[in-house]
């Protein structure tokens, strides 16, 4: 058998028989069903997948690959975001200049573009993924819970995008976030302009006012300023991504445990 192989085949055979290779990949080359199954089982990344799946789950026409694309974009955002963090300081003095610098002076200066357009694209792909899950009735039992996990992921994706919107600290950013967070001012009971807030009193003094309400909590003050920038930065780079990563793991795990990609009964 070995004699039929060319030089490259022989070199590959040699490499895959070394101790180092065998310690990493504990199976032969993936040309038999058994080894192909082992590829999936022995690799921590790939083993989120099942070993076998419904053929219809493979059809692009069925899933549109949208969940996968969303996940892919999440990875792209993580990597480009990490590179951006090298150059960006989340303070009003530096934030804007750092973004300008990123654009003009940093080698491979499209990182910011990829990060921003990727974020837009991710919002769209999440919506489309939800649309396809809905249109195929894929949320029906036993997948109800995973739909719920998905809804939280949807909200978190929007929050990720929104918190990132402030970071360039230009006019667009500041006012979009002002408009967005102004609504928190009107939260029932917890916002100082919201219904019921006037009734929350301790010893006759209003507890909820402009400096203590839900909006102030979000911004760390009354205006979109230094503390708002820091809060959004920390949430954007650490808080939300961790939550999303955890929930994506749950989401994928449940796709498997609920019997793989849905199909007709």
């Amino acid at each position: 058998m070995a004699s039929k192989k060319g030089d490259i085949g022989r070199i590959f055979d040699y490499i895959s028989n070394t101790q180092a290779w065998k310690s990493i990949f504990r199976h032969g080359s993936p040309d038999t069903t058994r080894n192909r199954s082992l590829v999936m089982l022995m690799n921590v990344v790939l083993h989120l997948h099942p070993v076998r799946m419904r053929k219809s789950g493979l059809r692009i026409k069925y899933t549109w690959c949208m969940g996968g694309l969303t996940f892919f974009l999440f990875l792209v955002e993580t990597i480009t975001g990490l590179l951006l963090m090298f150059y960006y300081r989340p303070t009003p003095e530096y934030a804007y200049i750092d973004i300008q610098y990123l654009r003009s002076d940093v080698p491979l200066g499209v990182m910011r573009e990829i990060h921003r357009w990727g974020a837009h694209a991710m919002v769209i792909t999440v919506w489309l993924h939800m649309l396809r899950v809905f249109m195929t009735g894929a949320y029906k039992p036993p997948r109800e819970f995973n739909w719920g996990v998905g809804v939280i992921l949807l909200v978190l994706t929007l929050l990720l995008s929104f918190s990132g919107y402030l970071l360039p600290f230009d006019q667009l950013a500041m006012w979009a976030v002002t408009v967005g967070t102004n609504m928190a001012r009107a939260t029932p009971l917890l916002g100082h302009e919201g219904p019921g807030a006037a009734f929350i009193k301790v010893g006759g003094v209003n507890v909820i006012h402009a400096a203590t309400d839900a909006r102030a909590l979000l911004l760390g003050g009354r205006i979109v300023g230094a503390s708002a920038l820091l809060r959004f930065y920390v949430l954007h780079c650490i808080g939300f991504p961790l939550a999303v990563a955890f929930l994506i793991a749950v989401h994928f795990w449940r796709v498997r445990k609920d019997g793989g990609i849905s199909g007709p009964l």
Partner: protein
């Protein structure tokens, strides 16, 4: 394009005609899903939109709003969303026809076939990742990310827009106070989405594309998604200008455009115009008609709806609790178009107007 045509189109994109036309198109789309999903028809529909863009391209105002870097994803979204609506309804139409002829849906034909994930799926995932990465890089090299002037808390831009994916919510601010538009309604969107799987008791329609087997549920969901979310985003992006006024696609964004009419509260209509007396000073009395209306809307309508066969069937399938939950969310959703219509026809401002608690 001639000036007359432009003016006509500007009028067509006014708030009332845009929404009425959109809702009409939506239901037409549902009713004729077997016709418009035919590839030829869909191709012609798409071409019409492309022609519309091509003809409008030279107009400076149109061009400006469409080519703003942050708006490009939304222009793309028009085509993307149409394409995927087509893709799902096309497959639904094919499956529905098969099932009428006693055949299983396409997805069921190969339902016992299993494939190995390595290499089949991993290969597809790898390929789509590469294609998508290439698209993303081309997009990023071609169009720079916007950066405006440094943030300046003393200089408010006009209009100040939220990020585009929240423009649906910002549009609601026109019709509702912030505590409803910004807090209550978004929360109900989230809970409404979450309860869908627990309330939809229809055993049919899981795991394949269909419209016929789940007409009601699909129509309800898509009404929220397409009309009240996507269409409002398009409206907020392309048609809302300074002072949040409405501007046609070819209209210059004039900061001095006349503000909208004064709006009137329900209490004023009731006490002054109907009864001919003054508005009572005690807000709890003056707002009684509004309070009554809102309570009736949420308590009596679910009962009235039961006379409609679809809702009756819904009730017997779901039981009391699920039915109440779904109908409540349904009524909350419908409150937006209802308030829009009341605003346009009666200039109605608030149904209940108690300070900080306006509905």
């Amino acid at each position: 394009m001639p000036v007359g045509a432009k003016e006509f189109i500007n009028h067509l994109f006014g708030p009332v005609s845009y929404t009425v036309f959109g809702v009409f198109a939506f239901f037409l789309m549902l009713a004729t899903y077997r016709t418009w999903t035919k590839p030829v028809v869909f191709f012609i529909l798409n071409s019409l939109i492309v022609i519309f863009f091509a003809l409008s391209w030279s107009d400076p105002n149109f061009n400006k709003i469409v080519t703003k870097p942050d708006n490009i994803p939304i222009v793309a979204l028009i085509f993307i969303i149409l394409f995927f609506m087509w893709l799902s309804f096309r497959q639904a139409a094919i499956n529905d026809e098969r099932m009428e002829n006693g055949m299983p849906p396409l997805e069921a034909v190969e339902k016992h076939e299993r494939v190995l994930v390595w290499p089949d799926l991993v290969f597809i995932e790898f390929l789509s990742a590469i294609i998508f990465m290439v698209v993303l890089i081309i997009w990023s090299v071609g169009i720079g990310a916007p950066l405006e002037e440094p943030a300046n808390p003393t200089k408010t831009p006009n209009p100040s827009k939220a990020p585009w994916y929240f423009l649906g919510l910002q549009e609601m601010l026109v019709y509702f106070d912030p505590w409803i538009a910004g807090v209550v309604l978004p929360s109900f969107i989230i809970t409404g989405l979450m309860i869908i799987p627990y309330c939809d008791k229809n055993p049919k329609g899981a795991g394949y594309y269909t419209f016929k087997d789940r007409k009601f549920v699909i129509s309800m969901f898509l009404f929220g998604f397409m009309v009240l979310w996507i269409m409002l985003i398009f409206m907020g992006t392309f048609l809302r200008g300074p002072n949040w006024n409405f501007f046609g696609p070819y209209e210059y964004w004039d900061v001095h455009k006349a503000p909208v009419l004064n709006n009137i509260n329900l209490s004023e209509y009731f006490w002054i115009h109907l009864l001919g007396v003054g508005i009572p000073t005690n807000p709890l009395v003056s707002e009684l008609p509004g309070i009554f209306l809102i309570l009736a809307y949420f308590i009596i309508t679910p009962g009235i709806l039961m006379f409609i066969p679809v809702f009756k069937r819904l009730y017997s399938n779901m039981g009391f609790l699920r039915y109440s939950l779904i109908i409540f969310h349904f009524l909350v959703m419908m409150s937006l178009p209802i308030k829009m219509i009341l605003r346009w026809t009666l200039n109605l401002k608030y149904i209940i107007a108690i300070p900080t608690f306006n509905i």
